[in-house]
């Protein structure tokens, strides 16, 4: 099982040497397991030791695979490939490994092939989903690739004693990740299509009575979930960026720029840097 999310979250992104050691199809996507180099045989500390000190990874953060220098100079490729982090395992003997959800040509155009050999990754990127300090009933919604994050988050919440309703949505059956893995983390798993998401949330809420709602979904779906949670009067944390959207993943290119409400005014935020997790109040449309 993935380790529970840590409490001290590193906001510093590092270069991490890692190699893909496992590829598992999940719907039209793949789950990759990266073995982090330089972490073997180190004493167990808080977080994952990548060779430069412990680094805590948590649900809601993502990882970037920059193009190799030769790709930059020969082909002019400058945009990295971004992927959701979906789990972390830390083993003092075998080293640390990281799970990511990898897009394929079936899921997005111009998807990159699974990297071969030891590559330099950039991690972690983004602000993670904040966890409640006490065990509270929660609802976690994951859409498409975000289901991997939702699964990890659910495991972390259950590990803290929370009752969690996990709702998995997608555009079609191939959009769903491995359901068996999700059923291992909670007994309340709801599978739905995007069009039925609101109704499914209502059914799940009637049973679970959530005190907090989390959403890992593209911005438009997160916006709808934020509005539903606001109608219920429930605190919600939602993602406003998905790695499959592309861009640089660091907030430098401005691709992710989003106009949100904050302190009664509209302002532009960069979810790659300021998020991807934002409070629901920021995404709820006025009026």
């Amino acid at each position: 099982m993935p380790t529970a999310a840590g409490t001290s979250i590193a906001r510093v992104a590092r270069r991490v040497q890692a190699e893909v050691v496992s590829v598992r199809p999940e719907g039209r996507r793949q789950r990759l397991i990266l073995s982090v180099r330089g972490s073997e045989g180190r004493e167990r500390q808080a977080g994952v030791d990548t060779g430069g000190g412990p680094m805590t990874l948590a649900p809601g953060q993502f990882i970037a695979l920059p193009p190799e220098p030769s790709e930059v100079t020969r082909h002019g490729r400058v945009l990295p490939t971004l992927a959701w982090l979906a789990g972390v395992h830390d083993d003092p003997v075998h080293g640390a490994s990281i799970e990511v959800i990898w897009e394929t040509p079936d899921s997005i155009p111009h998807a990159e092939p699974v990297p071969v050999g030891v590559r330099q990754w950039l991690a972690p990127l983004g602000r993670p989903l904040p966890l409640p300090t006490d065990a509270v009933p929660a609802m976690v919604v994951g859409d498409a690739a975000g289901q991997g994050v939702a699964r990890w988050l659910t495991a972390a919440l259950v590990g803290r004693g929370s009752q969690v309703a996990l709702i998995l949505s997608g555009g079609d059956p191939e959009d769903h990740l491995d359901l068996t893995s999700s059923r291992r983390v909670t007994d309340q798993v709801w599978v739905t299509e995007r069009g039925d998401l609101a109704a499914t949330m209502a059914k799940a809420a009637a049973r679970a009575h959530p005190a907090v709602v989390y959403s890992v979904a593209p911005t438009r779906i997160s916006q709808r979930i934020a509005e539903i949670a606001t109608e219920w009067g429930v605190v919600a944390q939602v993602t406003a960026f998905s790695p499959e959207q592309g861009g640089c993943g660091t907030g430098l290119c401005g691709h992710c720029a989003l106009s949100v409400r904050a302190r009664g005014a509209h302002r532009t935020v960069l979810p790659c840097c300021d998020g991807p997790v934002l409070p629901a109040t920021a995404l709820v449309r006025s009026g």
């Binding site: 906001r11 920059p66 930059v72 002019g76 400058v78 945009l79 592309g246 861009g247 290119c253 691709h255």
Partner: protein
């Protein structure tokens, strides 16, 4: 070949030392974005911006940045209102003891002057070591005669609004047919350095192409400017290269062509750490050029 030793930008108009290596406008964020990747105090300085009054209408048919062979096609970065920059960005920089070049964008002299005036009124204006005035949009589509007048007016108004301790960098498009004339007018207007911008304007006008593919054009532009300085057609000022610099080798090629400084744009999308790496390399290069061989005492 005549060796040019342009004055340091800080020795003409400004007493502030100017950063040799920065991000390009719209590619380096406003400070916090880069702070996750290293100590900002280890950099020569930041470049924040663009700042302006007239945001480009976002083109919903295109993403902000799309990969294409040779680099990226991107929508020109959204400008941030100067009041917003004064209220949020300058205090953030001042609290950390950082200094920055501020990129200003406007299509008329009055618009640029108004933006600069607003920035100038900030109590934290001391964080600004230079203002980069983007002339690319203002001269785009103008012939050489009209373009140099536009450059003169805009650079001149910006310089008038700024204290002498603050540098004025004029960003000129290397693909403009009147490049030297535009650069000459910008310097005549008070610019202390030229930024040779290699991004290729596209249609619709808010789109442009950048990336390693534009490096040859940018370096050719640097050579053109430096050649004009050698021939006396352009006052000698430092040239900062902006466009297509994808790594250490490209930065070295730009330096060999006569660039005094380097701006990194889309290369930072691939690896933000590159900013620190090239800063260090350029410092070593400068030190190697300036420092004499180690002295021996003969003991």
């Amino acid at each position: 070949m005549t060796r040019l030793d342009p004055p340091h930008p800080g020795t003409t108009r400004s007493s502030n030392a100017q950063p040799r290596v920065t991000a390009a406008a719209g590619c380096g964020g406003w400070g916090p974005e880069l702070a996750r990747f290293g100590q900002l105090s280890d950099l020569d300085g930041l470049l924040v911006g663009p700042v302006g009054h007239r945001p480009f209408q976002a083109n919903e048919d295109h993403g902000a940045v799309t990969a294409v062979p040779g680099g990226v096609v991107y929508q020109r970065a959204r400008v941030r209102e100067p009041h917003d920059v004064v209220a949020e960005v300058f205090p953030w920089l001042a609290a950390r003891g950082l200094r920055a070049v501020v990129a200003v964008r406007g299509e008329s002299a009055g618009e640029v002057a108004d933006v600069v005036r607003t920035l100038r009124r900030s109590v934290d204006f001391s964080v600004v070591c230079a203002v980069e005035v983007d002339l690319t949009a203002a001269v785009d589509g103008l012939d050489a005669a009209d373009a140099d007048q536009a450059a003169l007016r805009i650079a001149g108004r910006a310089a008038e609004e700024l204290p002498r301790s603050c540098g004025v960098h004029a960003k000129v498009p290397v693909l403009h047919p009147g490049l030297v004339a535009v650069a000459r007018s910008a310097v005549a207007g008070g610019s202390t350095a030229l930024v040779a911008a290699g991004a290729i304007p596209l249609e619709p006008p808010q789109m442009a192409q950048a990336g390693p593919g534009v490096e040859p054009a940018t370096i050719a532009g640097v050579r053109t400017l430096r050649g004009a300085m050698v021939e006396g057609r352009l006052p000698t000022v430092p040239v900062i290269v902006s466009g297509g610099i994808s790594g250490s080798e490209a930065a070295a090629r730009a330096a060999a062509a006569g660039a005094w400084g380097v701006q990194l744009g889309s290369a930072l999308f691939a690896d933000p750490h590159l900013l620190w790496q090239i800063t260090q390399e350029r410092r070593s290069h400068v030190t190697a050029m300036l420092d004499p061989a180690p002295m021996t005492t003969g003991e």
